[in-house]
């Protein structure tokens, strides 16, 4: 049995320790925000936050995550009450197909929580590991910039 803390809720799971976190999120916990892209930590679609840092959930075994705080895009807000990062992405209409967006949001969220005043150069650098095949990079950058302002104005 492995116990995982996801978005503040504890889950006891009967899964092998080398199972990637992504599979557990999607298959066992029905948290389908994080996506399977490459399965090799090369594309960023599976990005979630662990203890405040963005990680690739597809290459992180659950055995490494006991006692640690996992956050997924579902933890940023709801459809009724989207969080500032989610609002910013909607307001900038930053999604084309949308597959990369949860990963983008989680990596951006981790950045803005540790560096609230991040400028565009820092945002670009932080988002480098996350790929978008539709080419909505400019909108994504604008959305993260907007999120920085929204998060800042909330204090």
């Amino acid at each position: 049995m492995i116990e995982l803390d996801v978005n503040g809720t504890r889950h006891r799971l009967d899964v092998p320790g080398d199972t990637p976190l992504l599979y557990v999120l999607r298959n066992d916990l029905q948290l389908n925000g994080a996506k399977f892209g490459c399965g090799l930590g090369q594309c960023g679609a599976c990005t979630v936050i662990v203890d405040g840092r963005a990680i690739f959930s597809c290459i992180t075994p659950v055995s490494a995550l006991e006692g640690r705080r996992i956050r997924t895009v579902e933890g940023l807000g709801t459809v009724e009450k989207p969080g500032p990062m989610q609002r910013a992405f909607m307001e900038e209409q930053a999604a084309q197909c949308g597959y990369c967006i949860p990963g983008m949001m989680m990596r951006a969220q981790a950045l803005l929580e540790s560096q609230p005043g991040a400028d565009e150069a820092q945002i670009r650098k932080a988002l480098t590991p996350n790929l978008c095949r539709c080419g909505t990079h400019m909108r994504i950058l604008r959305a993260v910039g907007r999120a920085a302002k929204l998060m800042g104005s909330k204090g």
């Binding site: 662990v50 840092r53 290459i59 075994p61």
Partner: protein
């Protein structure tokens, strides 16, 4: 990004504080250099990795400002563009030659030996002139070099020089062929390989009786390039040439850390010269004892926690037996597992292997957020065990040190 001489005694001086005195001949105007000489100088400068220390992060090439942290303080690579006020625009060929071969500024003060004049002293007149033609035809950039913060005064360099600095040109070894001598010349002068690949004394001088026996650069281990090479697979001229010019030898090695910057530059060096360098270095490795017998089954038994992390985090890429394209090294062949210290392996696990912008190379993700220090330690101990070599003494402390340095 890279520093050649983190363990050495400081770096290049600030040249910009005082204007150079008028020299009898005067610097040459760019138009007076012929294109072939400039092109040759460009290839040589790539061999010398000059741009790495003489360019700030995000700065203009050769305009200085790169901060080199050493155990003796922080020094900055200087502006070597031909800007008359902040660069070397006022330098004559004689000024330039003296700087390279004697480590002295036009005003006669010492440069800190992180500027590798103790290697460049062996350069031929012809190559010094080509390098001069190259730097003097760069775009002049007005950029003051930031102040150094050195614990050792510049005058102390004179004492260091009397102990460690042997001025003089390269002397060919007639018992070897011309290609070997070309490689030896480059390795011992411009390429300054042994600056990182030879261990140093507490005062930052090379241990001469341990030439190329492995040293340190920027917190990374620079592996031995002599018969003490820990490489699990023997290098040959072809594999080393490929590695030096592309950063990648299929199934054998991928460049990372400070060497990645060196390799990036070597792509622009003369291919014949890179081949000669490989030919020479491989000759130094002759008689290497080879690797230990690895046993993955034993490793898993001894380090079950590390083995579990490996299975979930690493095996998908490293255990698939795929062709090199898109696949990853089989780790029992990876040199990082066989080195005397775990530093390189910890750096790679934490920070991944991220190619420079626009370089097309395999990309290994960073695991610094995914794994705790304790988990990184478990994994590194397991991987070491996989190599069949004795355990590293204190992996946990090294993980903490590298984690601390990166903050």
């Amino acid at each position: 990004m890279t520093s050649r001489l983190a363990a050495a005694l400081g770096a290049f001086a600030i040249l910009s504080c005082t204007a150079p005195p008028p020299a009898p001949s005067g610097p040459m105007a760019p138009a007076r250099f012929d294109a072939a000489t400039v092109a040759k100088g460009a290839r040589l400068a790539a061999m010398g990795n000059c741009v790495s220390c003489h360019t700030a992060q995000g700065g203009k090439p050769f305009a200085g400002g790169y901060a080199l942290k050493t155990q003796f303080g922080t020094v900055h690579g200087t502006n070597i563009t031909p800007d008359p006020e902040t660069g070397i625009g006022g330098w004559t060929l004689e000024n330039f030659t003296r700087a390279l071969r004697e480590g002295l500024s036009p005003e006669g003060h010492h440069y800190y030996p992180a500027f590798p004049y103790d290697y460049f002293t062996r350069l031929s007149d012809e190559d010094v002139a080509a390098l001069y033609a190259f730097v003097m035809t760069r775009e002049p950039v007005h950029a003051e070099t930031p102040a150094n913060h050195m614990l050792v005064p510049r005058v102390a360099v004179g004492i260091w020089n009397s102990k460690y600095f042997e001025p003089g040109r390269f002397r060919p070894d007639s018992s070897h062929d011309a290609r070997w001598n070309r490689g030896a010349y480059l390795a011992q002068s411009l390429a300054h390989c042994s600056a990182c690949h030879t261990p140093r004394t507490a005062l930052g001088g090379e241990k001469r009786d341990r030439y190329m026996a492995g040293g340190e650069a920027d917190g990374w281990h620079a592996p031995a390039l002599n018969r003490e090479t820990p490489s699990p697979r023997a290098w040959n001229e072809r594999s080393l040439t490929l590695y030096l010019s592309t950063g990648l030898t299929d199934g054998h090695a991928i460049t990372a850390g400070p060497m990645a910057g060196v390799v990036h530059n070597l792509a622009y060096a003369s291919h014949d010269d890179v081949g000669a360098l490989a030919y020479y270095v491989v000759s130094l490795m002759q008689g290497a004892t080879g690797s230990a017998a690895s046993s993955i089954a034993n490793a898993a038994k001894e380090h079950p926690r590390g083995a579990a992390i490996y299975a979930g985090a690493c095996a998908d890429c490293h255990d698939r037996g795929r062709a090199a394209e898109g696949g990853a090294l089989e780790l029992q062949d990876a040199i990082a597992l066989s080195l005397p210290t775990p530093a390189n392996l910890i750096h790679i696990v934490r920070d991944g292997i991220i190619p420079r912008e626009h370089d097309a190379q395999p990309w290994m993700p960073a695991f610094s957020g995914a794994l705790t220090d304790g988990q990184t330690t478990d994994l590194v101990q397991y991987l070491r065990s996989m190599s069949g070599r004795p355990p590293w003494p204190d992996v946990a402390a090294e993980v903490r040190r590298i984690e601390g340095d990166s903050r």
